[in-house]
């Protein structure tokens, strides 16, 4: 009996291959040519994984009954921790090898072209490390809170989880997102152009709760947050923000933080540049002045054409991007399609998103898809009838402060091309007659 079950419990691809053995030879050739199987029988990416549908062979189902309908699949806890379908193996974080000196102090990009909601799955949340990803035993990890406080304390992770907890859905965006494009269009990919942004539900303790617990002395005006990684990453944060909506998070989308997101704890500083959301958090110090750390002087300051630089430019201004179509997701058919994308603002809620199909001459208001939350990714969509002619697609967000997303030409006019960070310009996708989509810039 068990042997019979085991026999039945072969994975679908093997069964499908065996099934193909029984096909007439011409059909078998067509089946193997269909691109679903490599020579070794391994599955390759499927319809959802960014392969244009026209590249997929047509299927004999129906009328044929597929093998997975006539067999048993693997049982429960085959994967005690579930993993994506092998057909989704192209949906991964990727990096740009020429961008950094090594992978230890580098960044990876979220595959936005494959994501359908506002929540970034934990395994696809973009990564930024300055000294690699530390492996921290939570039993050994401590959070020290000290400085201009009445009662400096050391908390274990167990202690931290005894405090009242809150959950909030917030995006985190690296201010260098899109920074490779100040001088021209370089990368032909949504993932590499805009993939330094992700969004999750964060659960943890309000920083205000912890600071009230230790008691802030009247002269305390600033907070230093420090990580336990090999870079001991630090940022100065004004107390006003710290007491507003910042949390010390231990959970991400309902489970413990991933190691690359700061396990066991990180700071979440809603709407502010990713670098302030210190990971592997080990220390919070209250002081009366900012510390002028390397990450807020040498880095994360915006150089202007006159040679001066702006520091403490924390907020991520409103931005939007069309995620479908995009270079990785070309248009496959003329006719009605849905232009979809994401919008967000570090200053609050998205109020509206407009879409243009003529390079910004005329705009139509898109529909926002619920939920619309402050400092969170928000989905938008607009129905469009593509006639097969070339088009220039753009999206433009307006946030609740009335701020309207600028063009790249406007940002360059205001800040030159050497500020690296905070490029929240309107993205232009050129749709060609064959449906392919290219990253272009307008003068």
């Amino acid at each position: 009996m068990l042997g019979k079950l085991r026999r039945l419990n072969q994975d679908a691809s093997k069964i499908a291959l065996e099934e193909s053995e029984r096909l007439p030879s011409e059909e078998r050739r067509r089946f193997l040519r269909s691109g679903l199987f490599t020579a070794g029988g391994a599955m390759v990416g499927g319809a959802l994984a960014g392969i244009a549908p026209k590249a997929l062979a047509s299927t004999q189902y129906p009328p044929e009954i597929p093998p997975w309908t006539r067999s048993l699949g693997p049982g429960v806890v085959t994967d005690p921790y579930g993993v994506p379908s092998p057909f989704e193996k192209d949906v991964i974080r990727r990096n740009v090898p020429w961008l950094t000196a090594d992978k230890v102090s580098s960044i990876s990009f979220t595959p936005l072209q494959h994501l359908k909601g506002i929540i970034t799955p934990n395994g696809l949340f973009f990564e930024r490390h300055h000294a690699g990803r530390p492996e921290i035993d939570p039993q050994q990890h401590r959070l020290m809170i000290h400085g201009l406080v009445d009662r400096p304390i050391i908390l274990s992770m167990e202690d931290l989880q005894r405090f009242p907890s809150v959950s909030q859905i917030n995006f985190i965006e690296c201010p260098a997102n899109g920074g490779m494009e100040w001088r021209g269009a370089q990368l032909n990919s949504l993932q590499f152009l805009h993939g330094m942004v992700s969004c999750a539900e964060w659960t943890g303790v309000r920083l205000s709760t912890l600071l009230q617990e230790v008691g802030i002395k009247p002269e305390g005006k600033w907070l230093l947050a420090e990580g336990a990684d090999g870079a001991a990453m630090t940022r100065s944060i004004p107390l006003e923000k710290a007491l507003d909506d910042v949390i010390v998070a231990y959970a991400q989308n309902g489970e413990a933080l991933r190691r690359e997101q700061g396990y066991p704890i990180r700071l979440v500083v809603p709407g502010w540049e990713g670098n302030t959301h210190v990971k592997w958090l080990r220390r919070l110090e209250v002081g009366d002045k900012p510390w002028m750390q390397r990450e807020e002087t040498s880095k994360y300051t915006d150089l202007m054409p006159d040679g001066t630089a702006h520091g403490f430019t924390w907020v991520m201004e409103a931005k939007s991007v069309i995620t479908s179509p995009c270079p990785e997701m070309p248009l496959t058919n003329k006719g009605v399609c849905q232009i979809e994308g994401l919008a967000w603002s570090g200053r609050g809620k998205v109020k509206a998103v407009d879409v243009s199909v003529d390079g910004g001459q005329n705009w139509q208001q898109a529909q926002l898809r619920e939920p619309v939350m402050s400092k969170s990714l928000t989905r938008f969509s607009l129905e469009w009838k593509w006639d097969g002619n070339p088009a220039l697609l753009q999206s433009r967000v307006i946030d609740e402060t009335g701020y309207v997303q600028p063009t790249l030409a406007q940002l360059k006019q205001a800040r030159g091309t050497n500020s690296i960070y905070h490029k929240n310009a309107i993205q232009t996708w050129k749709v060609n007659g064959d449906g392919s989509v290219v990253n272009v810039q307008l003068s």
């Binding site: 304390i153 021209g184 406007q410 003068s443």
Partner: protein, 225 residues
């Protein structure tokens, strides 16, 4: 959700009838907070972890280092990435040079041309360098390296001795090159809906530039400039 078992130490102390560590220790000046979780941080614990240094020198420890001492440490621990004279290797950062380049087409941001505070140099070397062995240097070695890198940038003389008195006195060349208030939003657009521009001109396209790593299949290790 993960959870943590009681620390064996706590269990042991509970078994022995010792006062739980989460209660305020005898003689603590302040009563515990509302929740009373955790343990009071002792001066010794704070001193060991409190490594940050501010521009006014707050946080700088005792000790000192000279430019010559720094050269020896630098050649051993730093030059393989940052170059013998701080010129940088590959994509690892330049530490020196770039004077007057901030308004040029390709600015070079170095300690000398860009960094506003000398304290940041001590702080960063101490917390994060050498890259492969962070927090392995002595305070004296960090002082020496700080002196050496400042001298590489012609900010201090060859006889400079870095310590907690001299370092806050060092005025960096680009000290006044920063504003610490966010001027944004700098672009204030009306939400135009129709006939918003005269013409639309594509000025650049990513097509055919071959800079984009693969977005399907295995990770692309290929393109390295």
């Amino acid at each position: 959700m993960f959870s943590f078992h009681k620390k064996p130490r706590l269990l042991a102390s509970a078994c022995c009838g010792v006062i739980l560590a989460s209660m305020p220790i005898l003689g603590a000046a302040e009563p515990a907070g509302h929740y009373g979780y955790g343990e009071p941080a002792t001066d010794e614990q704070i001193a060991a972890w409190d490594i940050d240094v501010r521009p006014d020198g707050k946080g700088l420890p005792d000790g000192s280092g000279t430019v010559d001492e720094g050269m020896a440490v630098y050649e051993t621990h730093c030059s393989s990435c940052h170059g013998a004279f701080g010129e940088g290797m590959g994509r690892y950062p330049k530490l020196a040079g770039g004077e007057g380049s901030l308004t040029e087409d390709r600015p070079e941001k170095t300690v000398g041309s860009y960094w506003p505070y000398a304290s940041t140099l001590w702080d960063y070397i101490h917390r994060a360098m050498p890259f492969f062995a962070p927090q392995s240097l002595t305070d004296d070695q960090v002082y020496a390296l700080t002196a050496y890198v400042l001298n590489l940038n012609y900010i201090v003389e060859a006889d400079f001795v870095a310590n907690k008195e001299t370092l806050p006195q060092v005025e960096m060349p680009n000290h006044d090159g920063f504003t610490w208030e966010d001027p944004r939003p700098v672009v204030n657009n009306e939400r135009c809906m129709e006939n918003c521009k005269e013409e639309v001109t594509v000025s650049d396209s990513a097509a055919g530039k071959n800079l984009t790593p693969s977005t399907t299949g295995p990770l692309d290790e290929g393109i390295t400039e």
